[in-house]
Symmetry: C2
Subunit: 591 residues, 2 copies
């Protein structure tokens, strides 16, 4: 895809000095990611595109004066292209696209490549369309890829949608969908499952970008995955993985997320390659607090510099290389005819934008947006997606006979790890129901389908963290059903009602009283609030969870992976206990 | 454009070892242009694409065994992608596409980006179609760009065709036309001439590659040219030009042709740029003898190494970078899913292919094709395009009155240079015609329209070289009319008849006898012969020309630029004497 100025003739006229530019940025040191150089320059902008760059680093007389209606004084600081995030889930920051823009644009990010698969698991194609629509007219280019794995693991859970080849066709025919998002089901790819082959074919037929997701794949299997047409990976964690993937032609999207922080290892692994053209940077998942305190792509770039790249190399990886990865021409560098997405930073080792220009317009200065975001109303933002049948008391307990019952319990390895095992234990039975009251480390865990199916499953967990009350969330990867961990059904019901009434989010209950509530009414995943106030709510929520005993680094993240049937070994979905290794549902009671 | 294997599933199966590859290339040092590294590897190929690359440079255990129906032993030599020529006119080598393939493929070139504008000036769109058709099924990928400047300078000459926006549309809708060829009329671009704007718009609308041609443009004008959407340049001759163009985002197609040899200067100018991603290599024009003796892209690469690039850098510039310039994905590197266009060379500083693979098939070994070229018959190869009205004796003389006449004479600066001036001189008149017999340095020069218009112009040249007889050619840039330099009409007529009968080419006549004849019956530009026998004919032709007094380095090239109205200062077309600086026709007789 090429960015085309609407009138090339006018753009040339501005370069030729026949008409004034809209804006001249003067007195800057240009970071030229095309040659890797830095030199003084002036840049003329018209209609959102760069018309001309006047510079004469060699003293050969190539510079010329730029006339313009407006001027911006760069104060001798560095001018670089706006950052491009190669892979990010907006949902991980729990904000709308507009509030994502408000958070990241002042930090120098002007384009993101996003995978809306969390929202899609809840809202299906309409959620993808919402992400595209809600991203329009922002001071941020948002390229929405078509989610490939909705739901992540069909058969082990019910999500709000199912994407097969037909849905993929529909999404790839939408405006500004330049490819297929992280193709996580590598087993399906390698085994040519009917669903994955159909999805891949929809992409191949159109020649679009196929974004990968291939943790730990190596050798033969990695070759097979790449031979299938998949072009990138952001899941590398080891030096060996990084080197092998780049050597085999993948774009290596080196990631620095809130949880997965891989830059140091990956950059260290490949920094001495003579060519880094296929090295790109991404965030994948950033918690809103990290967005505000550490930053976005500017932080990733600074981490890459610390890991051994030169500042210009790191900037190139976070701009031009990503544009080339996506096949976006005229984006990610400062040259005539390129999109005028620019930033001025005082320090290229730790870039903090003093000014950000989007499509030639000054949109942020000194960390603040200086343009209003469009105020628009989306039906999707007001639809309550928590479509659950509120269970009765008995449905939240587990019927049993005799005095003790032998059951499968999902046991956490440690208070920090999300890894679990399935352990068989005997628990007491009282009045016809399992009785966990004698062991505060045991809690009930219920997953209620919230996409209108009416089904639920109840199991038992050990070592979750909370030792009383109820913890509930509609953020529960990847199907985002309603998950509740609780001591007694009374507490669970309060949490369930709170979340069904508020359209989803997180909730903590103690002694029948709500002690924490983080409303995420959009798809049960996103807040309507901007990052600042949202972070205050998140922090209050964390406190409430800690006081129930959830002491993971980020207590809000504890419950969201209890349902994720790709993390070993035992998870709970709306269909029951999943033996992740066997990829099947196993009964609660041991026969 | 993405190269897509016909069955990705099978390709993945071959990588996974479920089915054997067609071919395994073993025992090679892989030149990985994606990372810039060299390391031992094995490559598996299926259906023309690379299925897998097994290597383990780090000793991490990533290598695996490749099963294959066939094997090729690389003997420990280097495996690299086939070369890609960023810009070449096949017509300059005077051979058909098939014979071009026969000459360059054994030297490791597997893709060329060609501009058929010489043939197009003669045969119009049908000639472009011929180039596309004749290139099909060769062991060489030929990307034919749509010629932008046919004729080069409308109004100063008549060519065999006129390409405006409608013709551009027609060509860009043809198969495998990935863009517009060298946009030479930069004045038309900068002044928004209706023709050039229409042509550019046809390209912009489709988002295709716009190949540039911008000698000496700098500063404002270069910015304006680039802002018009033009992406490359192969006309740089100075270090300053090269640096300025790369900095402004152009792909710099550094050229090493038979006449223009720019590699040393240009590579020297940019070799210390931290990024060379936009540096590519091309030949532009190669005489057939140079193709055979020096080589093709392998020679350009060796020149780039001598000029200071590392061998891997030079190879990258002559492979991957060109593919990226054209937006061709999966071409120009050795990785799973990429086209299996490969070569094995013993020495990467002076690459001479020991083996060349095209689409996975061994097509050349030790400098010789090992596959037959397709034998096909094209009507265009048998059409006599020399459509002239043979003039009578008097038309080849210049009528004048009185005893002396003051005329404008086209005077060569030197025996080697193609630069000329227009000088006013008095010449004798005898029997009602100009009489040049007293000054053997003066010759008549006639240009006869050979595209059926019937017009001709006769002028006088000084210092051409030949001092007797007649020199004639249907290769006469860019309209390729029939040009004849001669002492007497009798000699001219013999040459004219020889060329009209043979469908064009070069001819030398002395005392009414043909002393040299190089038949170029295809468009009057190309020989049906392969390079080897053609070179013998060319050398005989050169000898014949030398014996008439033409002592330029390449005597065959002397006449071909006499008509080219973009080289200063005086040229002769079928419309008369062109004052190149004024870009207008001037009268022979001084008033």
């Amino acid at each position: 895809m090429k960015f085309e100025p609407k009138d090339r003739r006018k753009l040339a006229d501005a370069a030729l000095g026949r008409i004034p530019c809209d804006l001249a940025i003067r007195n800057v040191k240009l970071v030229n990611v095309l040659t890797g150089e830095i030199y003084p320059a002036e840049v003329g902008i018209l209609d959102g595109f760069i018309a001309c760059v006047s510079a004469d680093p060699d003293g050969s007389g190539a510079a010329f004066s730029i006339e313009a209606a407006g001027e911006y004084d760069g104060r001798g600081e560095f001018l670089l292209p706006g950052f491009i995030d190669a892979h990010v889930h907006i949902e991980s920051s729990m904000v709308t696209p507009a509030n994502m823009a408000a958070a990241v644009v002042p930090q120098g990010t002007t384009t993101i490549i996003t995978d809306p698969h969390e929202a899609a698991n809840v809202g299906g194609i309409e959620a993808v369309r919402y992400m595209i629509d809600a991203a329009r007219d922002l001071p941020l280019r948002v390229y929405v890829l078509a989610p490939s794995c909705v739901p992540a693991v069909p058969g082990l859970e019910y999500a709000g949608a199912y994407f097969g080849p037909a849905e993929m066709d529909a999404m790839l025919d939408m405006d500004s969908v330049p490819g297929i998002a992280e193709i996580m089901d590598y087993a399906g790819v390698l085994d040519h499952s009917e669903r994955m082959e159909g999805i891949l074919e929809a992409g191949r037929r159109r020649g679009v970008f196929l974004q990968g997701h291939a943790p730990f794949l190596s050798g033969r299997r990695l070759n097979g995955y790449i031979a299938s047409g998949i072009e990138s990976d952001h899941e590398s964690r080891t030096a060996a993985e990084a080197r092998e993937k780049m050597r085999l032609g993948m774009f290596l999207d080196a990631r620095e997320g809130s949880v997965s922080t891989n830059i140091e290892t990956l950059v260290g692994a490949v920094k001495n390659f003579p060519s880094l053209a296929n090295l790109t940077l991404c965030t994948d998942d950033r918690e809103p607090e990290d967005l505000l305190t550490q930053g976005h792509m500017n932080y990733v770039v600074s981490r890459a510099v610390k890991a051994g790249l030169s500042p210009v190399q790191a900037i190139t990886c976070g701009t031009l290389n990503v544009a080339r990865e996506l096949g976006l021409r005229n984006l990610g560098a400062v040259a005539p005819g390129w999109a005028a997405d620019l930033q001025i930073v005082p320090d290229i080792s730790e870039p903090k934008a003093r000014a950000v220009f989007f499509g030639g317009e000054l949109v942020a200065e000194n960390g603040e947006l200086v343009v209003p975001l469009p105020v628009r109303n989306f039906a999707q933002e007001h639809r309550n997606t928590v479509n659950v049948k509120v269970p009765d008391m008995d449905e939240l307990r587990i019927k049993a006979t005799g005095e003790r019952a032998r059951i499968r319990i999902v046991v956490y390895d440690s208070p920090q790890s999300s890894f679990t095992r399935i352990v068989e234990e005997e628990v007491p039975v009282k009045d016809g129901f399992l009785d966990l009251s004698s062991d505060p480390d045991l809690m009930f865990a219920a997953v209620i389908n919230r996409h209108g199916r009416g089904n639920l499953a109840v199991a038992v967990v050990r070592g979750f963290g909370a030792r009383e009350g109820a913890v509930a969330s509609t953020v529960a990867h990847d199907s985002h059903n309603l998950a509740i961990v609780y001591d007694r059904p009374e507490n669970a019901l309060v949490a369930i009602k709170t979340l069904t009434d508020s359209g989803g989010g997180h909730c903590a209950v103690r002694n029948g009283t709500v002690t924490g509530h983080l409303p995420l009414p959009i798809f049960g995943l996103l807040s309507p609030l901007p990052c600042g106030p949202l972070v205050r709510q998140v922090n209050a929520m964390k406190e409430a969870l800690r006081s129930l005993g959830v002491n993971t680094k980020n207590p809000v993240m504890r419950i969201v992976s209890i349902t994720l049937p790709v993390i070993p070994e035992g998870k709970i979905t709306d269909l029951g206990i999943v033996d992740v290794n066997a990829q099947k549902i196993v009964p609660l009671f041991v026969e």
